[in-house]
Amino acid sequence: MDKRKIEENIFKALMIASTCLILSCLVLILAAIVVKGLPSLDLAMITQTPKGGYYLGKEGGILNAILGSLYLAGGATILAIFISLPVALYLNVYVKKGSRLASFTRFALDVLWGVPSIVYGAFGFTIMLYFGLRASLLGGIIAVSLLILPIMIRAMDEVIKMIPEKLLEASYSLGATRLETAMKVVVRQALPGILTAILIAFGRGVGDAASVIFTAGFSDSIPYSLLRPAATLPLAIFFQLGTPFPEVQDRAYASALILTIMILAISITIRILTRRFTRHIVK
């Protein structure tokens, strides 16, 4: 066998090995959650609030955290959409390609993307103190939306950037304004990507513990007010794992299982929705 062919085979084997490694990681994580969590998972887990001890919950369930996470991540995602979409459209439709403003904004967003979520938590907390707000669902929503904004904007930006200039020109040449072009052509063409961006941001928001620890706090009752503390699944997992009681620790895995299933269910729903909306997309 000649040298180039050996080289080819070695690198191919390395690539396959890396792919297998990442896939087996995923499988192992899922397996660990399922194996350790499934025995503790029962109907009470998802229908009741914690009982038998302050939010550690030896008994009862984590409905407070499930609803808290959904409200918090859902609220943060909706808030973030209203900021992300205008930014992404502005960068791609209104600002000239390669302008300094656009590249600076993208750079700033990339930096923000890399900021650890605990920093968002601390930042959010500082702002809350300034406004005299206590740890609350609203505080958590604001902190998490700050956390997911750069992710959502850059993800939307990347898909909108891919839209060929010709398509925009076609719309302009018919006398459409930039706004009409953005809303009727760009958003339609990029819709699957925009939905994916929203999903990625939601996934990041629902799974983050550090940004909500000071801002949303924790509570063992179902969230009923924006201004009251709310529980979240990642924090529930964190507190459950932190207890010295093995049976509560096992429930942490059940909580993790619930969180994973939630994210999976939302992903699949978005995928199905996306397929329905992609009919008209120009390839």
Binding site: K96, L167, E169, L174, T177, I281, K283
Partner: protein, 253 residues
């Protein structure tokens, strides 16, 4: 100004950064004729076309001086309304660019953004312009399928119908057949010959034979200079400039 002049280009200069893309272009485009702009790649043909509907505005670092009068109105006047100017011209680009919506909505896009809501009127507009571009018979039973699903040749005729539906006086076509097969190309050319009764048509092409088939008037551009222009017969049969002669003979390309 002569009554039969539709577009009058006066001392038009376009710079991309330091590059002088169009150099002091001055010529008149007569009404309801086919004007073919010929010249080698990179000579400024597309830039000239994009100047007419001010798509050139969105190019980074572009500078334009001079005047382009359309119906006697300078389109580069700071007070001129871009959407109003663009409404006067239908653009057909090199690759057909259907919008991400149905065949029907593509044609109705222009009229809708200009404020037409009446369903009946929209229906008749869509039918009328699809007939005018020769696509109606092929798509009348599937108007609500995505425009991306029809063939490339059909898409180009759809784009023509879409452009006509805003009732422009001018059709701008940038190498409109270069992505099409010979049969589709011929259909587009046939449409042009029919449409010139009602529209002024400006075509950019580097296919000389196509230019000869279609042109009433010809403008020859070379490296940003307008070398020669005039009635097609004169330019093709009896070119005055050495460069035009060479280009037509195929010496330079």
């Amino acid at each position: 100004m002569q009554s039969n002049t539709h577009i009058s280009v006066q001392n038009l200069n376009v710079y991309y950064g330091k590059q002088h893309a169009l150099k002091n272009i001055t010529f008149d485009i007569p009404d309801k004729k086919i004007i073919v702009i010929i010249g080698p790649s990179g000579c400024g043909k597309t830039t000239l076309l994009k100047s007419f509907n001010r798509l050139i505005d969105s190019v980074d670092g572009v500078k334009v001086s001079g005047k382009v009068l359309v119906d006697g109105e300078n389109i580069f006047d700071p007070k001129a309304e871009v959407t109003h100017i663009r409404k006067k011209m239908g653009l057909l680009s090199q690759n057909p660019s259907p919008l991400p919506m149905s065949i029907y909505d593509n044609v109705a896009y222009g009229p809708r953004i200009h404020g037409l809501k009446n369903k009946k009127e929209l229906n008749s507009i869509v039918e009328h312009y699809l007939k005018e571009s020769g696509l109606w018979e092929e798509v009348k039973d599937r108007l609500h399928t995505p425009a991306s699903k029809i063939s490339v040749g059909q898409q180009q005729r759809l784009c023509l119908a879409r452009g006509l539906a805003v009732e422009p006086g001018i059709i701008l076509a940038d190498e409109p057949t270069s992505a099409l097969d010979p049969k589709s190309s011929r259909r587009i050319e046939e449409s042009f010959l029919k449409l010139k009764e009602k529209y002024t048509i400006i075509i950019v092409t580097h296919i000389l034979r196509q230019a000869k088939r279609l042109a009433d008037h010809v403008a020859f551009l070379y490296l940003g200079d307008l070398i020669e222009h005039g009635p097609a017969v004169d330019v093709f049969e009896n070119p005055q400039e050495e460069m035009t002669k060479e280009y037509i003979k195929g010496v330079i390309s």
